[in-house]
Structures are given as C-alpha cells and as structure tokens.
C-alpha cells in the first residue's frame, strides 16, 4: 500500500478543486503540496506513460508548439498527459499529472507531452524518463531569473549530457548550435530554406550575434526572424547545421503554408514566429512516427488560442487581445497591428511579477519606434499595469506624442479607455500575469454589450 501516494493525490486533487472554486488557475500550488506529502509522486505517476514522454522547451513558442503537438496526438486517437500554458515549472507539471490520474494513481496514458520552463529542464529529467527534447529557440526572456542566457543553455546542456535523449533542434538559431558536436547525442535539425520574407539587415535585438565557440562576430547571409537565419563564423567555420526537416516555399499571407521536405502544411495561424512553431511541431511529430495525413489535418484545423490574438466584439468594435512577454514577441505584435491602417487605440499592460520577469528593461530592447512611426493611425496609447509608468516612458522616448499617452494603472480603467472613443479597433497587449484579468474584463464587456444591443433591438421592435 502506498498510503502517502494516495494521500498526495487526494490532497492535490482537492487543492485543484478548491483553487478553481476560488477562481484561481490553480497550477503550481496543488503540485507543490502533493510533492511535500510524497516527494517521488511525479516519477511514480510518469510510470503510467505507456509509450514515451517528450518535452518542449525554449524561449518562445513553447505553448503554441506543444498545443499543436497535442492536436496531432489527439488526431491519432492516443491518450496523453499535457500541462497547460504557464504551468511549466516542475510543480505545475506535477499538478497536470495529478489532475490526469485517478485516485489510485493507476490511470495509464500513451504519451506525456510537456511544455517545460528552460530552468526546470534538469529537474524534470531527474524525475521522468524522456524520449525526446525539442528546443524551439533561445531569445532574451526573463533573464533575471537565470542571470545570462549562457547559463540557461549550459544547464540544459549539462542535463542532457550522457543520456540517450533525442534532441530536436532549430538549425537557424546560432545559440542552439551549442548542442552541436556533443558526442553521444542524437540530434535532428529543423529550419527554413531561403524565404521571400528574409531580411538582409534588421535592427532588432540579436542575442546570438557572436559565435558560441570562438566569440567572433557571426556573419549573416540572411535573417529569417530575429537572430534566426543563415549564419557563419569567419574565424572557426561554425555555421548552420544541415537540416533534417527543411522547410521551403513559405507563404505567410493570408495564412501560413509551406512544405517540410515534401510534406505540404497549411495553418490558419499568422506570422513567421508561428511558422517556426508549426515546423517544430511537424518535425517532432515526424520523429515520433505519426503518419503525414494526421499531421496535416491536425495543423490545418488548429486555431489560435487565448492571448494569441484572441478577438472580441464590443459595441461593434473589434478588440484583439495579445500576450507579449519579450522584445521579439512585442516587435512582431507591433508590426502586425501597425500594418492595419484602421484608426485604433493601443493598450499595453506591463506587470513585473515573478511570472512576467521582475526586470522590465526588455521593453528597451523592443522597438516601440515601430508604434511611434505609425502614430497617425493611433488615437491613444493607454499604459496600464503595475509598471504603467515604464511603458509610458518607453513610448515617449520612442517618439510617441506625450499628449496622446494616457496612464491608467488599473486594468479595468485602462481597457475601458481603450475601447471607448471614435477608434474602429483596439489592441490590448498584456504581459502574462495581467492577461487573465484583461481577458475576463473583455469577456464581461462583450457579454454586456451584446445584452444591451439585444435589449435596444427589442425596444425598437416593440416601440
């Protein structure tokens, strides 16, 4: 009898139930509680994975990539354990396993599909046997939790050393090439061939500009997106590894389509960064042996999720909610929203809680100038969240007219301000810990607006 295991599961399940009841997401606490009662709980429950467990890490695209993988597994009628977005620390992953299992801790699953925070990868590998590790990319993100990016990469490198874990890596990311030349590891590379969207010289922040082997500045033939591209080191001949999963014929508009080797892929998503997420998911799925048709179907039917350009209609206005968390993602969002010429209000909530990253200096590595250059289409920029002042200062120094910068620290007031007025659309940008509140506010406003328009229609008809 494993009394402590049952107790831990029961306590964990109750904690999930009660924190949901209290309106919380309930992601880390139940896992932490259960681990305190029975420390090996995660290892034990992971023993119920019949086939294999794969993990997805990296700076950007973890959530989208793993959600697409989940679709592919589902399409193949297999069962799986999958942690939700944001619950990617070891405690959140434990919570996901507790939620999936039954009270005796015996329910079996075909696959484990885990999105894992970079710094938590070593911990997880100690507790769970992993078949494959997919690394999306390494960008500047929440640096304050780790010190520098080099540290993050090194701890993952050390953790996979002397294991038989298969690595699925981004051939276009010079920081990922750290993993090259590591003996004993089976590496598979995905990447893009030349595309029509490539840039020969771009001003965005580039974390991996220097060769990881000799320190010399890298020479880029072309950039696909941020520091991802075709590079080489003039000093030590370090260059992109050969691609096992090579994407070509990329089309981003009106939606994403390209070919992976000979497999045509289509998706309703937008943006180059999502093309990378799709390519990553397809590559992993191919390595896991899923049939081509199921991969195609799953990707083409998978639609954008909460915070990844979610759309609301409020009083006839289109309101889009976008999660932003690092310079690259913010730049992409700003490019997308300024391409739309309709006049608009832009709202941005900047928080500095632990899950957002305590250091908000990343907004200075982002190009708010993109917004300032198109300010004729923008009525007001509304700055909100715990660090509303910082986003306002950043916008002012990007050249945005201070007279049209509005500071509303409280989310409710800020969103109300963004949605009212003569603008046709509103963009609600938010960092992680403000996202759920922003979404709740928008949902409430949408419902209320719908009810009011129904009522007025009714009054017109009866009057």
């Amino acid at each position: 009898m494993k009394i402590r295991l049952y107790l831990a599961i029961l306590a964990g399940k109750m904690a999930i139930f009660f924190s949901r009841l209290a309106g919380n997401q309930g992601t880390n606490f139940p896992g932490r509680l259960a681990r305190r009662i029975y420390p090996p709980i995660l290892t034990e429950l992971a023993g119920n994975i019949l086939r294999e467990t794969v993990i997805i890490t990296g700076t950007n695209g973890k959530t989208t990539t793993s959600n697409m993988m989940a679709e592919i597994i589902k399409e193949n009628n297999f069962s799986y354990v999958h942690n939700r977005a944001g619950a990617n620390m070891i405690t959140g992953i434990t919570t996901a396993f507790i939620q999936a299992t039954n009270l005796s801790g015996k329910r079996e699953f075909d696959y484990g599909l885990l999105e894992v925070d970079e710094a938590n990868v070593p911990l997880l590998l100690q507790e769970i046997p992993v078949k494959a590790l997919l690394i999306t990319n390494f960008f500047r993100d929440q640096l304050d939790r780790f010190g520098e990016l080099d540290n993050t990469i090194n701890i993952i490198k050390e953790a996979v050393q002397d294991t038989d874990i298969e690595l699925i890596l981004n051939a276009d990311d010079p920081l990922v090439s750290h993993f090259q030349n590591q003996t004993g590891l089976n590496c598979w590379y995905f990447g893009f061939d030349d595309t029509v969207y490539d840039d020969i010289a771009s001003a965005e922040s580039r974390e991996g500009r220097h060769c990881v082997f000799c320190g010399h500045e890298l020479v880029y033939e072309r950039f696909h997106y941020a520091q991802l591209g075709k590079y080489s080191c003039p000093q030590c001949q370090n260059q992109n590894p050969a691609r096992d999963f090579s994407a070509h014929g990329l089309n981003l508009s009106p939606a994403i389509s390209f070919q992976v080797n000979n497999l045509p892929i289509q998706s309703p998503y937008q943006g180059f960064y999502n093309a990378y997420n799709i390519l990553a998911a397809v590559s992993l799925a191919k390595r896991m042996g899923f049939p081509d048709e199921t991969i195609q179907t799953a990707i083409s039917s998978y639609h954008p999720q909460a915070g990844r350009m979610e759309k609301f209609i409020i009083n006839g206005k289109t309101v889009l909610l976008i999660l932003v968390k690092n310079p690259t993602g913010l730049n992409q969002s700003l490019v997308a929203l300024t391409q739309e010429t309709a006049n608009k209000n832009v709202f941005m909530a900047l928080n500095d809680n632990a899950a957002d990253g305590r250091d908000i200096s990343w907004i200075w590595d982002a190009d708010l100038e993109i917004l300032a250059n198109r300010q004729e289409d923008i009525n007001y920029l509304i700055c909100s969240g715990l660090r509303s002042g910082d986003i306002a200062v950043r916008a002012k120094y990007a050249g945005f007219d201070p007279a049209r910068i509005v500071i509303k620290t409280r989310l409710q007031e800020g969103i109300a301000r963004a949605v009212e007025g003569s603008n046709d659309t509103a963009y609600i940008l938010s960092t992680y810990t403000a996202l759920f509140t922003c979404r709740q506010i928008l949902l409430k406003m949408q419902t209320k607006a719908k009810r009011q328009s129904n009522q007025s229609q009714y009054q017109r008809q009866s009057g």
Partner: protein, 245 residues
C-alpha cells in the same frame, strides 16, 4: 544649435538588459534641449578621437564578452583616464563598471585584470544579486532618489576609502550587499550596477551628464523639460520598492 557627440562603446558586445535605452534617453533629451546629439558607435579596433567626443558610455555584458573588450580597451586606457581627469562625462554600467577597477575574479576563480582606473576590485559569486534597487544620490548638491534594477554576480569592494560611491543603498544590494555603497562617482564619471535602464526613469541623472557636456562645450540649454511621465514612472517604482514588492 550645437551637436554633442556621445561615444557608445562596443554596442554589439556590451548591451544587456536594455542598456541601450540610456543612449536613446540622452539623444532625445539633448534634442528637446534644443541641440543635436550624435551617437557614435565604437567597435573593436576603432580609433577614439577624444577631441570630438563629449561623453562616453559603455553598458554591461556577459563574462565572455567582457573579456573580449578588455584587450581593446587597454590600448585606449591611458588617454581615456586623462580625459576623465579633465572632466569628460562618462557612464559605465555593470560589467563596464567592474572593468574600471583593478581586477575581476569570476566565481570559477579565473582572474581578469581591470583597467585599474580606481582602487576597487570585484569578486564574482555564483549567487547573483537581483532585484529592484533604490538609492539616494547627491549629484548637484541635492540628495535625490535613484531607481533601477540590478542583476550581478560580482561583489565590488573599494580598496581606497577615499573613493566616493554613486549613491547609498536604501533598498537592494548595491556594490556588494554589505557596505551600503552603490557604484562610483568621480568628477563627471558614474560607474554603477543599475540597469533599468538607468537614465530614462532618473531624468536628473541624465541631466547631470547633459549639463556637464554643455558646460564643457560652453553651450546653453533651453528651459527645463516637462518630466511628468518620467517622474510618474520613477515614483511608481519607488513606491513598489518601498512596499517591499
């Protein structure tokens, strides 16, 4: 309208945590004060023409990058120290600040020489000092608060008690988390661990550097700027730090 020139040292190597925002801030404020500002980037092996430079800025980098710039900077060191003695305004952040001392010992034990401008040294430790920081600093005869974010493994110690810190720590770690000192101030040079970036939310520090530049050049600045937004952001962080968040 005059043109002020700021030398931005090794922007490709030494730019951590938004440090380039300091350049954006100075450039914009000088423009608002009615003059032009030219930011001239200085990379490896580039010549530094001090005749035509009004200020020098260098940001932070990782250990690897710090090693790369040291050798290049050593060639320029004598001339640079002479300029600083003569009152050249300069801002050195984090890794660049550490380079001003005699030595830097990494947490693995490797010892790197510093430029030796000041009698201070830095010991690296694995555990980093990270978080929002609040200082009190006296720049132009008036004690004012300075806010920022620090993230450093190095602990910096003064070996000469005559050295003057940039400020005293109200909340946070500062040079070493022990003696309450933060950074160094010498004539018109500021060395500091503060990222954030430092200048945009501390407009009085930016103005201290700009006024020093203007005075050396004998040019006048227009009326004081409207810093409502900057001061709001400063106060917001200050409140957050004092509330222990």
């Amino acid at each position: 309208m005059e043109s002020l020139v700021i030398a931005y040292m090794y922007p490709n190597l030494m730019n951590l945590y938004g440090d380039r925002g300091n350049m954006v801030c100075l450039e914009k404020r000088i423009g608002w004060y009615g003059h032009q500002c030219e930011v001239r980037t200085v990379n490896h092996n580039d010549r530094l023409d001090f005749q035509r430079i009004d200020m020098l800025f260098m940001g932070g980098g990782s250990d690897r990058e710090q090693g790369l710039v040291y050798n290049d900077l050593l060639v320029k060191a004598d001339k640079l120290m002479q300029e600083i003695e003569d009152g050249l305004p300069a801002l050195f952040v984090c890794g660049a600040y550490q380079l001003l001392g005699t030595s830097y010992q990494s947490h693995e034990g490797t010892v790197l020489n510093g430029l030796g401008f000041f009698d201070l040294h830095t010991l690296g430790q694995k555990e980093r000092l990270i978080g929002n920081i609040l200082l009190e600093s006296e720049l132009e005869g008036e004690l004012k608060t300075v806010v920022g974010f620090e993230n450093h493994g190095g602990r910096t110690y003064f070996d000469d008690e005559q050295l003057k810190p940039f400020g005293t720590v109200v909340k946070g770690y500062g040079n070493n988390g022990e003696d309450g000192r933060e950074g160094i101030r010498y004539k018109n040079l500021i060395g500091t661990y503060l990222h954030g970036p430092l200048l945009p939310k501390n407009p009085h520090v930016a103005d201290f550097l700009i006024k020093a530049m203007a005075q050396r050049r004998g040019i006048t600045l227009s009326e004081p700027l409207d810093d409502t937004i900057e001061n709001f952001a400063h106060q917001q962080v200050k409140n957050r730090i004092l509330a222990g968040k």
